[in-house]
């Protein structure tokens, strides 16, 4: 009842009877939406400049900055939308935005 066939909806092959009631639908969770494909510029971290302050990790709105064992961070490019906030807040300018 709550399943939707997106392809059929796009093609207009549905009626009010086949749509889930009250638009309560099973949708992929955000983990299944690979928003990385939205990106125009990608952040590149220069690990030699990184002071491990973790400001980028705090500020990333998509939790696409991951902490790694060394105490530093890396970018999860499957989810990074390339907003550039990490580069903006980085005190030693260790993150650069480069075109994809």
């Amino acid at each position: 009842m709550t399943e939707i066939d997106v392809e059929k909806i796009v093609k207009g092959e549905f009626s009010w009877k086949t749509l889930p009631p009250a638009a309560m639908v099973k949708v992929p969770t955000s983990l299944e939406y690979k928003t990385g494909v939205w990106r125009i510029e990608k952040p590149i971290i220069d690990q030699s400049k990184c002071t491990k302050c973790l400001l980028c990790w705090i500020y990333c709105p998509d939790m696409a900055v991951k902490r790694i064992d060394s105490g530093s961070v890396e970018i999860d490019y499957e989810f990074c939308k390339g907003c550039g906030i990490c580069a903006e807040v980085c005190p030693p300018k260790a993150i650069k935005m480069v075109e994809e």
Binding site: T2, I9, G12, F14, S15, W16, L19, P21, A22, A23, M24, V25, K26, V27, T29
Partner: protein
């Protein structure tokens, strides 16, 4: 042989009766904001919860908009949910009323019908509910305290019926019913709970089975979702009848979509909502004693509108009078009047009809007013027409 049941008769105000019904319904969540003349309902409920007589979450919201929003979330989480409001409070809830029905949240709300500002007025009037008429809720009207109690219990049965899953409002006239003490028969807790057992809400929020709620639908699908609401609410009369029948088994009281009185051979038919129906009935009985063929129809269900029942009732009427305790300013007439007019036209019934706007802001509609009105109807039938289509009854010209 039918079993004789012991009847418990007590005296309560309309507000207390509704609170008692909600307590017996064993509600899980009550979210409310106080407003006269409803306040006693939630006051009593908060006392039931505080005294440990009702195991429910009582949430005092910071506004009616928040109260109904909390109810929406609670109902979607699968809780039996109750709230109550009136007048400005209902107006403040307005946008969420549409959302609650469209998201199929089976909330039950008592509305202590009261006038809207301005000027500020706290007394009985139907302008509040008429404002919420087209929100996709099922609207029920009580004529007396007993009905306010009964309909509140039935409202849970109707709202939670898996075929329906829609919010239901129970309307009771501010002060006239909310603050009047009347004797009523109450059911046992066991009877109420066996009548409305807690059944799981099929689309409840469940972390193991996540769904998206209240999503966006663009022009390519929005109309189909609205059509779903159109299709589901028209099932309400059937669900009401089913709920009513099983209710009559535990209470001995059977409710219909409309309550006809002296209709068999009635030439003059007066239609109304709420407590006025009782005033009209009393006077109709008097006029029947004078051989005036007059009948009264009260609408227990106002939305969805019982079109077929009304059409059948009015098919042979010589004269129809509609009582409106609200007005559609700049419109064709009062809200009930325009519904009746459409019903007559759609069903090919031509008869003399007029709208009587009365009782705004709690102006009393006394027995003497009803007598005067009936005399006016009798005279109008004699001359074969009304001299106006809309009367402001009792207004000082």
């Amino acid at each position: 042989m039918s079993e004789l049941k012991q009847v418990r008769k007590i005296a309560l105000t309309g507000d207390e009766a509704v609170a008692y019904a909600a307590k017996q319904a064993d509600v899980d969540v009550i979210a409310a904001y106080p407003i006269t003349p409803q306040t006693i309902i939630v006051e009593r409920l908060s006392k039931y919860v505080a005294d440990g007589e009702l195991n429910a979450a009582f949430i005092q919201a910071e506004s009616e908009h928040s109260a109904i929003s909390i109810c929406l979330g609670a109902a979607l989480a699968g809780a039996r949910t109750f709230t109550s409001t009136a007048s400005q409070g209902l107006a403040l809830m307005h946008e969420v009323l549409h959302i609650a029905s469209s998201m199929r949240a089976p909330i039950v709300m008592a509305i202590a019908n009261r006038a809207l500002n301005s000027p500020l007025n706290i007394h009985c009037d139907h302008s509040d509910i008429m404002n919420a008429r087209d929100t996709g809720w099922v609207h029920l009207f009580a004529n007396n305290v007993q009905q306010a109690y009964d309909l509140t219990i039935m409202a849970f049965k109707i709202a939670e019926d898996p075929e329906l899953l829609l919010p239901v409002s129970v309307n009771l006239d501010g002060f006239i019913l909310t603050h009047s003490v009347e004797p009523l028969e109450v059911l046992s807790d066991e009877d109420v709970q066996s009548y409305i057992p807690h059944i799981p809400y099929p689309y409840r929020i469940d972390f193991d089975r996540p769904l998206a709620y209240g999503v966006m639908a663009l022009p390519d699908t929005y109309m189909e979702f609205r059509r779903q609401l159109y299709e589901v609410i028209i099932k309400a009369p059937k669900v009401f009848r089913k709920a009513s029948e099983s209710f009559s088994k535990i209470s001995g009281r059977l409710y219909n979509l409309i309550a006809p009185y002296f209709l068999e051979d009635a030439e003059i038919i007066v239609l109304a909502l709420g407590s006025t129906v009782e005033t009209l009935r009393y006077v109709a009985r008097k006029f029947r004693g004078r051989n005036v063929k007059i009948g009264v129809v009260g609408l227990t269900m106002y939305r969805p509108f019982p079109e077929k029942e009304i059409a059948d009732t009015l098919a042979n009427a010589k004269c129809v009078a509609v009582m409106d305790r609200a007005y559609s300013y700049g419109g064709v007439g009062g809200p009930l009047y325009t519904d009746i007019l459409s019903t007559l036209y759609k069903n090919g019934i031509r008869t003399m009809i007029a709208d009587f706007i009365y009782g705004l802001g709690g102006r009393d509609f006394k027995l003497t007013d009803a007598e005067e009105l009936f005399s006016k109807l009798v005279k109008s039938v004699e001359v074969g027409r009304f001299d106006q289509d809309i009367y402001w009854w009792g207004v000082r010209e």
